[in-house]
Point group: C2
Chain length 343, copies 2
DNA sequence: CTGTTAGCGCCTTCAT
DNA sequence: ATGAAGGCGCTAACAG
């Protein structure tokens, strides 16, 4: 394996000069610069990351934590692939690498993160599946490792974040359902304390209030964020004496399961039960009737994540204010939202 | 940030002893050992990975390369989540970390890999989406970085690999279709040179040969491995003068698209066109009629990947033979494979 | 059983 | 514009 010393010996110059040349430091003779770059390329020299990190304290790497045991991920959600692709592209242009740090299902996300922090293997980190009270954020805030959360938390010390507009989507979903005459509007929320569930519920409640519809607690359902969860919910609703006429879902991965359960119960989505799902996604394109849902530009989200992470790094010394952004989503409509049956 | 020196000073012992204690080296007084571990835990000491790697030449990290731009991944395939979860769990038990290295769509997989190799940031690497002729493998073989490929290549120097039994599945699929009376059996193959396409085609041809059915080149279709690809294929087949009566798919992600296109063309899956898909997957559970397909234990595959990777590392000095394994899959049947219509 | 020390590869300061 | 040297944190070889 070739190191900077061998490269320097090969060129009969000192390693200091080689280092300066490779890192675009000023004060290197143009001719020397060219010789060094040429030799490095020919000999296939790439700086050893460990040596460089040890010296500079930086890794030029951004970490993205994914919980591989999370059911929403195992439900065939291609969300992260597209987001990561765009984020990676952006970071690469700026000279950074992106690595995905998978936290497995038998591991504790907080402990996992504490190891990641301590090992100093990334310069900044993005966390996902943010909880309303999220111990990871308290830990990150204490650690001084720059971090960005996808989803905003209420944990004190919360830094920069990007969130989808769960509240706005829920509110608009109620509004669209009301416009079609619905008054008994149910909602499917996560069965855990992930932050988006609270925001979606807030929007749902605001939507009801604006329409003058009283809250019926029996219309608020908790379920795993997966097709299995949706399947269970569909059957629960089908078995009710007084069924809702519309159902709002905080995640699109539940949708195929709801459809399947309704069909088994001989109920027709969009007729016997209207459905408004969350995000349009290629898998849902092929459901019939087409689910009413909202559009999100995943690539733009990925690029934005990259931008904000690098902002964090450059603001390190400047210690800029943490920033938060809510990504708006566009209502697309769909056949699964129909008029109230018999009205 | 606490380092080994501060930890040693805190305990009034030398860093050598601290290092030995933390790494379970023999020759440390039990009492000292305990004191060190206790203090490390209390002060939250975790060894700096860069320092350790620089000294030992090892990172205790396994890299898993994923091409995020790959359409099969963006089609909501939860394949990797489950496999990675199991693999990560296995590696964690053995003291290794797993990192996912995303290669973005605008990057060249070969160049990406050469950078990964050169940076020496992982001890071994797993590559996926293996091509029949795969330049990454030639490069890895030259680099001496231990590697495992998911999918076997014909590139010389191919090391250890695990592959799904694409050939066996295709052959069995033909057999099952023939058993139902089908003779005009089409096949949907990838439109690129990914290795699995060749193996699936081999099995298809063998199956036809065994049944004494002549090969009809017009029954061999190339399409992107995605629901969009399946959608296009469904419409192509629907428009044919002489349609096949059965269609075999080398990937299950095509299935929803095929179903949707057939439905639009007023053809019924399992009646007008029988379908045998590849792998059962939660998303397909909710398609109607249920797709005939095969079962694969993703967790077992992940664990096996972990095992083989660590075998590579321990065989480093011993220089053991490269090993290859084919993972068998079980036929599950399904309603989408029906008798030939009108027969 | 423990302390001391060299050196992994790199960047940066200081001297020339 | 270049060379020389120190040290980032760690482990391992050697000395006691």
């Amino acid at each position: 394996m070739i190191n900077i010393r061998r490269l320097a010996d090969h060129l009969n110059i000192s390693i200091g000069t080689v280092s300066r040349a490779l890192n675009n430091r000023p004060g290197v003779h143009p001719e020397t610069l060219e010789r060094v770059l040429k030799a490095a390329s020919e000999l296939g020299y790439v700086p050893n990351q460990s040596g460089r990190s040890l010296r500079t304290g930086a890794t030029n790497t951004i970490g993205f934590v994914v919980e591989t045991g999370h059911p929403a991920n195992q439900s065939g959600d291609q969300f992260f692939y597209v987001v990561l692709d765009a984020m990676n592209l952006y970071l690469a242009e700026k000279g950074y690498d992106l690595v995905i740090l998978p936290c497995h299902s038998a591991d504790d996300p907080v402990e996992f993160l504490s190891r990641v922090i301590a090992r100093r293997t990334v310069d900044a980190i993005v966390i996902t599946a943010t909880r309303r009270i999220d111990h990871r954020i308290a830990m990150l805030a204490k650690s001084k490792l720059p971090f960005l959360s996808l989803g905003r938390s209420e944990t004190p010390g919360n830094g920069s974040w990007i969130d989808l507009d769960f509240e706005g989507v829920a509110r608009r979903s109620v509004e669209e359902a009301v416009r079609k005459g619905h008054r008994r509007i149910a909602v499917g929320l996560p069965d855990n304390d992930v932050a988006l569930g609270f925001h979606y519920k807030d929007g749902y409640l605001k939507g009801l209030a604006e329409a003058g519809i009283p809250v019926d607690e029996s219309m608020i359902f908790r379920l795993p964020t997966s097709e299995q969860g949706g399947y269970g919910l569909g059957h629960r609703i089908a078995a009710l004496q007084e069924r809702p006429t519309a159902l709002l879902l905080c995640s699109e991965v539940m949708t195929p399961g709801v459809y399947a359960a309704l069909t088994e119960a001989e109920l027709q989505p969009g007729v016997d039960l209207s459905i408004v799902a969350f995000r349009q996604n290629p898998l849902m394109r092929y459901l019939s009737p087409s689910p009413a849902c909202f559009q999100l530009d995943l690539s733009a989200l990925g690029t934005r994540l990259g931008t904000l992470v690098l902002d964090l790094l450059s603001a390190q010394e400047g210690a800029a204010e943490p920033r938060g952004e809510i990504v708006p989503m566009t209502y697309l409509g769909g056949e699964s939202l129909g008029p109230v049956k018999g009205s």
